[in-house]
């Protein structure tokens, strides 16, 4: 790891070190319990029947034979779910519509993709449940389907919703279409900007949908009581989110649903919604037994959300000296079977790294017959960055400027106006690019068939609602409870920030993830928000503990609380005037709790803003095999601004993981459909995510430009890293073979075709 600290701060003892994670031992011994690892006495196995068609009307569902099979205890269809009001709720960027959601959980009028759930059973063994699914008779009227985004936008395309009128167009179109929404952002004068430009570059791109590819399939266990109380064990990024959704979908009072966050085997955005949870609760209610549902890998691919495939056109106008004067983007994203793709994010993030006076971004959210998309690491941004950062490279080439220097010349700074209304409020972009530029590999000569490419990536990062409770124990240890499921080591960073704030050793802090009835509301682990927002809640609760500790010391010393200060884990009299007392440690005071006022407990909650955005800059060297078209990554260097790395090893891990997902997206991963709209590669054999032997070591550069809004300077680090790789690799391939690939994945056949085109001239 290389590390660049831009503004050195006061020495910290625990923050900035890489201690062992507090939840590590059960994870290396096999004792940690993930979603599928829970069971209860009398438990049944739930299984879901899925549509074999990409698009069909459901004429009828007959479950009587399944119901009659010995061992079957409950069967359900969409009739068992109350219908929902048609309305979009929540902030526009992530709006949900429960009318859609209930139909995605279980199809009603139509099935909209192959793998769409139609019915479910619960039985005493998995084998009986499987058997029962085969006995359910569904009468389908098969309809024409559409998958590709450009096809889905055509007037003659089959309609998923016969009454869908595009939102965001004034006056609204008269005819229905698959276009759920049009969005436009603009600033400055686009036409004048392009008219003034010395050079204009315009390119079009296509990307394929890719799956988050978490190794743990979705799994849940539900238990219901006759009085309406429900308990759920979930593998989710947000057990509070599960609670909200399940309560709304099933009409359960919030306080009656207690959700436990299991260990979660990867998610990357894909576990921010519900699939199996409302089904398990319904089956449990109907049968009176606990019900466990585990998806198979095939179900994960057919039935859960990938991110969008997209079709994009980018136009950039530049001056000879490297100034960008205008930028225009058209982005069409697949939403999948129901509206709301991350196209808004794509429109907002695409040009966000740059200071450009005249910008316009137009986007379309388009439904098509494939699973409803769901967040995937920096949702929407990697797709638009692939197009924008490829076009940036072409523009740099056109004016003969080094691509990194070109970006640096145009980089956004605090105060830069962004197309979507916000202004950049933080430093760190230029510093990150400069750190990458200083890497000795950036200027190292390349060999035959080799090329180098770079790209940058922007992500908003998240703030939002988080809660934390700190309990001080009589032996001077502390339990820190939060509502943030830990996917990548956040219990370690939580304990570090608590230990640092309290002034006690890391080993004396035990971080836990409390269930929904045991800690305050907390948004999902997503948007790189936990170490920032939950971290601030934890620090807030620790500060309250310190205030309480000072009050107890004042009581013991019989002085005013204003005369007590807290320093490095000790209460001390504030100067001579306060009196002469030997300092009291955290442990001393904790042990005297009974005599000084009882248990020491503090809770803190926050709706945090002021998160610093994520910024990543990366370069890679590739070698293209002219015989096979295979692209080998020879070297990959990734710089990212962490604000301050609380646990540097986990920050490196986030960067390495994000980059490698990006490499898979760039080179291998895609959904392959047959003529009937059926997925042909619903498994890891044919949907090939990167394996260890595909890769070199990923070199990381952690840049630290502290965020003034977090006591330790934290900026989220989990997502910006997946934004640059597709473009960085495309740019490197272009550098190696002189041909630009404008479609993902850049698999060997596409590379070979590009090489042929070059030879033909």
């Amino acid at each position: 790891m290389a590390s660049v600290i831009v503004h050195p701060e006061k020495e910290l003892k625990v923050v900035g070190t890489s201690p062992l994670r507090p939840d590590g031992v059960p994870k290396v011994t096999g004792l940690a319990q993930y979603g599928a690892d829970f069971s209860l006495p009398g438990m049944l196995w739930g299984k879901i029947l899925r549509s074999p068609h990409a698009h069909a009307r459901i004429r009828s569902v007959d479950t009587s034979k399944a119901q009659a099979l010995p061992g079957v205890k409950a069967v359900m269809t969409s009739k068992d779910l109350p219908d929902q009001k048609f309305e979009y709720v929540g902030p526009e960027r992530v709006a949900v519509n429960f009318w859609h959601m209930t139909r995605n959980i279980m199809a009603r009028e139509k099935v909209l993709y192959e793998g769409h759930a139609v019915a479910a059973v619960a039985a005493t063994t998995p084998a009986i449940a499987e058997e029962a699914l085969k006995l359910i008779e569904v009468d389908y009227e098969v309809l024409p389907h559409v998958i590709d985004v450009d096809e889905a936008m055509k007037t003659e395309a089959p309609l998923l919703f016969e009454d869908m009128i595009t939102r965001g167009i004034d006056p609204p179109p008269k005819e229905p279409s698959n276009i759920s929404k049009r969005i436009e952002y603009k600033m400055g004068d686009i036409a004048a900007g392009f008219a003034a430009a010395d050079e204009i570059v315009e390119l079009s791109f296509k990307t394929k949908p890719v799956h988050q590819g978490y190794i743990e399939p979705h799994a849940t266990l539900a238990r219901t009581d006759a009085d309406g109380q429900v308990e759920l064990w979930v593998s989710s990024q947000g057990h509070f989110v599960v609670r909200t959704m399940v309560c709304r979908l099933l009409g359960i009072k919030t306080a009656d649903l207690r959700v436990h966050a299991a260990e979660i085997g990867g998610a990357f955005g894909g576990k921010t919604v519900v699939y199996v949870e409302p089904v398990a609760v319904t089956l449990s209610r109907k049968s009176g037994h606990p019900v466990k549902i585990m998806m198979s890998r095939e179900e994960v691919f057919r039935g859960t959300g990938p991110t969008s495939g997209a079709s994009m056109t980018i136009k950039i106008g530049v001056m000879k000296d490297g100034d960008i004067v205008a930028a225009d983007a058209l982005m069409k994203y697949q939403a999948g079977a129901f509206p709301t793709s991350p196209v808004m994010n794509g429109l907002m993030c695409g040009f966000a790294p740059y200071d450009i006076p005249n910008v316009r971004t137009i986007g379309y959210d388009v439904v098509c017959n494939r699973p409803k998309t769901v967040a995937y690491r920096a949702p929407g941004s990697p797709i638009s960055a692939y197009a924008v950062e490829s076009t940036m490279d072409a523009a740099a080439k056109k004016i003969g400027m080094d691509p990194l220097q070109f970006r640096l010349k145009n980089i956004a700074k605090p105060g830069t106006q962004l197309v979507y209304g916000a202004k950049i409020a933080h430093e760190g972009f230029a510093e990150t690019l400069q750190a990458l530029q200083r890497h000795p590999g950036y200027t190292k000569p390349l060999g035959k068939n080799q090329g180098r490419g770079m790209a940058v990536g922007y992500w908003f990062n998240g703030g939002g609602e988080s809660s934390a409770t700190v309990h001080v124990n009589e032996d001077g240890t502390a339990v820190v409870a939060t509502g943030s499921p830990d996917i990548g080591g956040s219990r370690a960073s939580t304990a570090q920030m608590a230990a640092e704030t309290l002034g006690i050793e890391y080993e004396r802090v035990r971080p836990i993830i409390a269930d929904t009835n045991s800690v305050g509301y907390t948004q999902a682990t997503g948007g790189s928000r936990v170490t920032y927002a939950t971290g601030r809640a934890v620090i807030g609760a620790c500060n309250k503990v310190i205030a309480e500790m000072c009050a107890r010391a004042a009581k013991i010393w019989k002085i005013d609380v204003e005369d007590v200060i807290w320093e490095d884990g000790f209460a001390r009299p504030a100067g001579k005037r306060a009196g002469e007392f030997p300092p009291l440690s955290f442990k001393d005071i904790a042990s005297k709790r009974t005599a000084t006022g009882g248990p020491i407990v503090a809770a803190s909650a926050i709706n945090a803003d002021g998160q610093g955005p994520g910024f990543a800059a990366q370069f890679c060297d590739v070698e293209v095999d002219p015989e096979t078209g295979q692209v080998k990554i020879l070297r990959y260097v990734a710089a990212q601004d962490a604000g301050r790395a609380v646990h540097p090893k986990y920050v490196e891990g986030q960067i390495q993981g994000g980059v490698v997902q990006g490499i898979g997206w760039a080179l291998n991963e895609e959904y392959i459909y047959d003529r009937n709209g059926k997925l042909e590669n619903p498994g890891f054999l044919d949907y090939r995510i990167p394996v260890a032997s595909d890769l070199p070591m990923i070199e990381t550069i952690i840049v630290e430009v502290p965020n003034p809004n977090h006591p330790y300077g934290v900026k989220g680090v989990a997502e910006a890293n997946i934004v640059p790789p597709m473009a960085a690799i495309a740019n490197a391939i272009e550098n190696a073979i002189g041909q630009r690939l404008t479609e993902l994945p850049m698999s060997p056949p596409k590379v070979l075709a590009a090489l042929d085109a070059e030879h033909r001239g």
Binding site: T29, P126, R297, G683, P690, A692
Partner: protein, 158 residues
């Protein structure tokens, strides 16, 4: 359907179970013997999360049947530590932060142990190829590879 009665050795202890002929070893371990450390990532032999050794050979437990285990010796992740003493690989995985979500970790550890039993001094490339059947979506493999190499060097010195 009549179940098959199987006696075998599991992590060094005698074990017996009844199993349906179609139940995989993975299902037996998880659902009948309640050892849930062995994970299911795919059920089709493509991810390595279910790795165990049978008579010393590394296998995907989702691809073998419980009924085939008669007289065999099975090792799972639960048998890797010696009581409270972690295996060097387990320790090095923690020290190197080689796990994020940790769901691939049991399979990776079982596979890595099997590698080091055959080849105590592997190169980075050999580790990468040996572990190519163990998918990890979180880490990008860097720290996994570093942890295995570091554990190997510590075990050679021991």
């Amino acid at each position: 359907m009549a179940k098959v009665h199987v006696t075998a050795t599991l992590n060094g202890n005698a074990v017996e179970f009844l199993c349906e002929t179609r139940q995989t070893l993975l299902q037996i371990l998880r659902d009948e013997l309640h050892l849930t450390g062995t994970k299911e990532g795919c059920g089709t032999g493509d991810c390595g999360a279910c790795s165990v050794t049978v008579d010393g050979r590394l296998m995907c437990s989702c691809l073998i049947l419980g009924a085939e285990m008669q007289g065999k010796s099975i090792q799972t992740i639960e048998g890797m530590a010696d009581g409270e003493k972690l295996h060097p690989l387990q320790r090095k995985f923690l020290e190197h932060a080689a796990l994020q979500c940790g769901v691939c970790t049991p399979g990776v550890l079982v596979a890595a142990k099997s590698l080091l039993e055959r080849n105590p001094d592997p190169t980075e490339e050999e580790v990468r190829y040996w572990l190519a059947g163990n998918l990890c979506r979180c880490t990008g493999y860097n720290k996994i590879i570093e942890a295995v190499l570091d554990a190997a060097s510590e075990m050679r010195r021991a």
